[in-house]
Subunit: 459 residues, 2 copies
């Protein structure tokens, strides 16, 4: 491809922004998916770095014309291989598109696709406002966050990425630049193409710029750790919190072994001494008094449900430390992980679902570390490599866990997405007609099937 | 059509549920659209009342086969003629589909399309939970609320209907029954067909059942009226509230003449004595202390922005009365209204936009009552009949106001939707390629174009 592509691409983006040297594109060939299930990158790839939507449009027109696959690339923090270039073609990195403009009067930010979540959160905070999304990896880029409809722990109060996105500039594979939505809270002009592009994982259009809703900063926050002897008591506290107390910023569920191991991995220690499993609850309100009052009521509700003595962290340092441990579980386990699952079930089913997974654990004599976003029913289950380097064994365990989730009214992926490693399993939770509609939509947007094509093409 | 349809339809739904007598279908021929712009119903219509999705499926298969237009019908509370049967065909009333099941453990409700918002809100409240949506007319039915992505005053904190909908059962015009989503907060399995159906105004599928997210009840609420001498001071307070205080349940904007007229219409009186225009702010928090504290801070922010002495309503009766006046403006003005517009702009543009509309008012020597959801930029402008019975004059005024909204970064409809009266104007805010994509999506879902077809077909 090098011979065919370099001149036309350089004519579009300039000579410094087309990379053909394989060594120099190593960071663009993988994502954070565990190695055993991670798709292999193709051999013949050219990396291009456009600086604006017009350049993206020209690249896509060229690619469509010549039927060359294009793989849009953000921060590469995905866990389902969604951005891995699995066919010979073009890697389209958005890293140079990093404009950001905060509109404090409208509580909105206009931000280009290549801006990282870390930069976004920091700049918004410096402007005195708050962008709540916290999917765990701060290196994610905005385009990817929208393309994968990212979630994380703060989805409980503020919703997933979909809830923040009010406008999208995106380029169709055929080159047209769409400008959808705006700095608008309400918008009912026709079918919502913006919602369709959110979560389409780079298969319908290349997202180049978005408009996100911002919020006022909370006046005060606190992080509670509520230790429990057993999981049932911990998880059955969650509906009671949601019914009686309202919406904390986050309610996370972790277990002792995993969280202590992660703390050691970070050179930290897990502050709770008692208990076998924990709810981590982040309370955010307007004032310290309100935080204290809500925390007290929340602790009462949990203690009535057999929580042990709660830990209360108020300083930013202590709170950050707890959140860092929670957010690093995947990375602490990653080297020994064969696959991290992302099932989502109705919140009240979590206890039952984990019990059923535990039965598999005993029966198959494997360890299946579990943690997740208890407030929103999103559970991450690790299939560890000691389940065998044998990929078939991993797949059998994974399918059993998928079936448990689906029987409980859930789905196989809540926030990580389908990517390239779960396309073959979508039939477990989608009907034939739904998949047919999705394939038809793909054909409308991408008639030449050049945009982020999958080896097993589903959508 | 009667001869062709009655027997097959009675075979599907039973003989009591097919209506051919025009007198008995009067309530199904119009909606709440002002008379002068309201589309005329067709002459040859049959009304059918299915009781479940299977019956809906059979009706739609029959209609698709014979290319007979089908007009899904909910509460008929729309303001854009969306449900009016404008071609000879079938009116599909969802009124018999009124099952409702509250799942307190998951804070979700499973509700059929024909349940009214009033019933839904009351039953949820009786179960100790809260469904926030408040679009104004409690006779709206759930199917219509989803089909039109209803908004209203509480969208500021809790979002529009789209934010509540977690699952949809819908029937395609070709008869397939889709079951999308579930009692799930996170769900990333493929393209989001559920989001595409929300707001599609009965043109892609017939919504038969939905799963909605519920919330804990607030411990306490209060309603503040903040009087201002002038509109600029009132509207420029809004960003300050949102930046400094966080999210009240609602921030509404009304003007003296209109609100006093509405109060008289209801046999009430508007409680504020001073000021020419008002912000109505609803504060909802966990406790009376918190409500008082937030209200005090909010009043301070507004008074720094030249608000006059605020009124504070705490009793349910006083609060309900204020909300009732606000919600009845349309009905108070309706008999003299030629069209009610629903433009939405970035919140910080409201002041500028209203000033430009006021210029039109002076120039054309007409009265254009204005009110709206100041917190989310959604403005309702009445074009009164004294603008002339001449529909052309109404259209000219309307187009000028649309252009003002679009130039301010807004759209022609925020919550009322396109319906059948705004299809011809969508080109003002959608690009050709966007409309082309929408038409292609319509063809995928409804290849025979039988579902809620428009006379001027746009989507």
């Amino acid at each position: 491809l090098e011979r065919l592509l370099v001149n036309p691409l350089e004519a579009i983006v300039g000579s410094g922004y087309v990379v053909t040297d394989r060594e120099k594109m190593q960071n663009y060939l993988a994502d954070e998916t565990a190695k055993i299930v991670r798709p292999k990158p193709a051999n013949d790839l050219v990396l291009v770095k456009p600086s604006n939507a017009r350049e993206v449009s020209e690249i896509l027109q060229f690619a469509s014309k010549h039927r060359i696959p294009v793989f849009p690339r953000g921060g590469g923090t995905g866990l389902a291989g969604g951005s891995i270039p699995t066919q010979d073609g073009i890697i389209l990195s958005m890293e140079r598109m990093n404009g950001l403009e905060i509109d404090t009067a409208n509580l909105m930010v206009v931000v280009e696709a290549g801006v990282t979540l870390e930069t976004l959160s920091n700049k918004v905070s410096q402007a005195g406002l708050f962008f709540p999304l916290h999917p765990g990896d701060q290196n994610a880029q905005v385009g990817g966050l929208v393309a994968t409809n990212a979630g994380g722990s703060r989805a409980l109060r503020y919703g997933v990425m979909r809830n923040y996105v009010k406008g999208i500039e995106a380029v169709l594979p055929t080159g047209e630049i769409l400008n959808l939505g705006g700095k608008l809270h309400k918008n009912n002009v026709g079918y919502d193409l913006l919602q369709l592009i959110i979560g389409s994982e780079g298969t319908l259009a290349v997202i180049t710029k978005v408009i996100l809703r911002l919020y006022a900063k909370s006046g005060a926050t606190a992080t509670l750790i509520l230790p429990y002897e057993n999981r049932h008591d911990a998880l059955s506290s969650v509906p009671k919190i949601l019914q009686q107390i309202g919406l904390p910023l986050a309610i996370e569920y972790v277990e002792k072994d995993v969280v202590e191991r992660t703390a050691r991995h970070l050179g930290e220690h897990w502050p709770a001494k008692s208990g076998n499993c924990y709810l981590i609850v982040i309370v955010a309100e307007e004032s310290r008094e309100q935080v204290l009052s809500q925390s007290t009521r929340l602790a009462e509700v949990c203690q009535q449900n057999r929580a042990l003595e709660p830990l209360y962290a108020e300083s930013k340092r202590d709170q950050d430390r707890i959140l860092a441990i929670r957010s690093s579980i995947y990375f602490a386990l990653k080297s020994e992980t064969a696959d991290i699952l992302d099932i989502t079930v109705p919140t009240a089913e979590l206890d039952n679902v984990i019990s059923l997974i535990e039965e598999i654990q005993k029966e198959a004599n494997v360890i299946l570390p579990i943690f997740g976003h208890a407030g929103d029913g999103n559970l991450h289950v690790h299939i560890m490599r000691d389940a065998g380097e044998d990929i078939n064994r991993v797949e059998i365990l994974r399918d059993r866990i998928y079936r448990i989730a689906i029987e409980a009214g859930g789905v196989i992926t809540g926030e990580h997405g389908v990517g390239k490693i779960r396309t073959g399993k979508l039939g477990m939770c989608l009907a034939g007609k739904e998949m047919e509609l999705m394939k038809s939509i793909k054909r409308i947007f991408d008639p030449n099937n050049v945009l982020n094509p999958r080896t097993k093409i589903l959508v």
